[in-house]
């Protein structure tokens, strides 16, 4: 049995938002007597993360992901409930706690804009009081793993987004934190860059057993790195479990994509939805079915006997399409 490291106990968090109607009279009214509405950003979220686990934290924009990460990293207090991380209460023992964690905000760099990457690293060495030996070891290792040798001496403002992100990730890890929170670490990075970042994160989790929490919009990030996922929407938690079991439970819908050699009349089949995905010059249709209602060989026979088929392929449902359905409320959990 692995040890539970992060214990989140029914936390809630609300924000006051100024509610303002249009028009100058209302603007003046607002100034004199502000009118607020209370928005629940996080509502009774409850989960645990074990030491060394890598957890994906999913949810659409404004679902409360960032607020939760801010509470976990001690920036904000929860209104209700409590958080324990190891022996710490994040929002209480700030200075001691933050030297044990690393936080990467994909949207906001912590590097000095005008200076070479190495200068920012050096400053962090002093801020975190990192021993010279440990600093050099970490630096050398991250430079190799993240392929940073070429741009270590370039000013941050000249870096590509992917390079900057890699430098930012390294910056958050120099002090060998035990826990790392990633808030959208691959946002805006190209495919190759994303791949590099993911590989690095997986490697680090494996060798150093760093516990990680990962928020992202990119389902591939999660699929390729995490074994567990927590999904929240409108501030409430709608799923907490392994990725494999999401697929198992909600990956019921399968699809066959059929290319026909000419235009043909489409006949409806019961329990199968057919979507025209033809592009210029070809005739492509997508047949979606529930695998517990219809068997594949029956459907294939049906299709092959009705149409003259040039090509076909079977599409496995990705986590992405499953998650999308969960957000859209098509799948209930």
């Amino acid at each position: 049995m692995e040890d539970v490291l992060i214990k989140v106990n029914h936390i809630s968090k609300s924000f006051r938002i100024a509610k303002q109607k249009q028009g100058i009279i209302n603007a003046v009214k607002q100034m004199i007597k502000p009118n607020y509405i209370l928005k629940k950003a996080v509502d009774d979220i409850n989960f645990t993360i074990k030491e060394g686990e890598m957890v994906g934290f999913l949810g659409p924009n404004g679902s409360g992901k960032s607020t939760t990460v801010k509470m976990l990293s001690g920036i904000l207090h929860p209104d209700q409930g409590s958080i324990e991380v190891g022996d710490f209460i994040p929002y209480r023992d700030r200075k001691k706690y933050v030297s044990q964690i690393g936080v990467v905000f994909g949207q906001k760099s912590q590097l000095a804009w005008d200076l070479p990457v190495l200068e920012s690293f050096d400053l962090l060495k002093h801020i975190y009081r990192i021993e010279e030996k440990k600093y050099q070891d970490n630096l050398e290792r991250f430079v190799t793993l993240l392929d940073m040798k070429d741009f270590l001496l370039q000013p941050v403002r000249q870096l590509s987004l992917g390079q900057r992100m890699r430098a930012d990730i390294a910056a958050s890890l120099l002090h060998s934190p035990k826990i790392v929170f990633f808030d959208e670490p691959t946002i805006g990075v190209d495919v190759v860059g994303k791949e590099k970042i993911r590989e690095f994160i997986v490697e680090l989790n494996k060798t150093d057993r760093i516990t990680m929490l990962f928020t992202t919009h990119d389902m591939q990030d999660i699929e390729k790195t995490c074994d567990k996922a927590i999904i929240i929407d409108h501030g409430t938690m709608i799923y907490d479990g392994t990725l494999a079991s999401i697929k198992e439970r909600f990956g019921n819908t399968k699809q066959i994509e059929v290319t026909m050699d000419q235009h043909q009349e489409i006949v409806t089949i019961e329990n199968v939805s057919i979507e025209n995905v033809s592009q210029q010059g070809d005739f492509k249709y997508r047949f979606s079915y529930e695998k517990n209602k219809i068997s594949l060989d029956w459907l294939m026979k049906e299709i092959l006997s009705t149409y003259s088929v040039k090509d076909f392929s079977i599409i496995e449902p990705g986590i992405e399409s499953i998650i999308r359905k969960i957000y859209e409320g098509q799948v209930m959990i």
């Binding site: 924000f15 801010k70 990293s73 700030r94 933050v98 905000f105 949207q107």
Partner: protein
Amino acid sequence: MKDAIAMFYQYSRVTMKSWFQYRVDALLRSLAVFLREATGIISIILVFTKFDVSGINNWNINELVFLYSFLFSTYGVLIIFFTGLLDFGKTVQDGTFDRFLLRPRGVLFQIIASDADWFAAIGHGTLGIVLFSYATSKIEVIWNLGNILYLASAFVGAILIQGAMFLFFASLSFYFVKASNVHGVLFWNLRNIAGYPLSIFPKILQYMLMYVAPFAFVNYFPAQFLLRNDDIVNYPDIYLYLTPILGIVMYFCAYCFWRVAMKRYKSTGN
């Protein structure tokens, strides 16, 4: 303490290096600040000499320059320690403040140390020293130990008074999205008129300069301690000695307010 100074040095080293990425700009900055601030004084001197004004409320031009020199010399130090609080609303809104919270150092210390503006400090400080030396060479000040000690403590007090105002206005950023306007009106506008003897203003402005944004204790009363011009009879004697104490008290209060405001930020977000 030693650790804090070493860290302050590290931060300043990085700030300096950032500035020196744009070499000419960095060098011109001190000069530009110096000239910008000096033009204000020069125009006053011109008015005095060209129009044969003998004095304002019995203050001659040298004494006025003396009064001004307090503003600049204290600001020269102030800007090393409190630049980070100047545009603090932005720091809160763009998330930089969150980053400070994530580092194992004092939050206020990081804000102060990461933004020390040495170049502007050189500009303001040099002007302050030039004006002070000029004025004291023309007016008679008795340099005994008591006066020197008083001046040194009033200098620190004056920096703390202004620092407290910076800290107070910065704390407001946790409550209001745009608190920099308050800072503008109460700090800059009143500072602009604080170069003149307090007694020339209408009562309401005098009260503001003594009790709201107490610039009178930054320069008028410390200068009067040494000059004893006639208009001092309008004010209680004790005011001549208050600057150092007021500085400590105001800074302490502002710091308490800062702690409360920061706690509120952590519990409400922004």
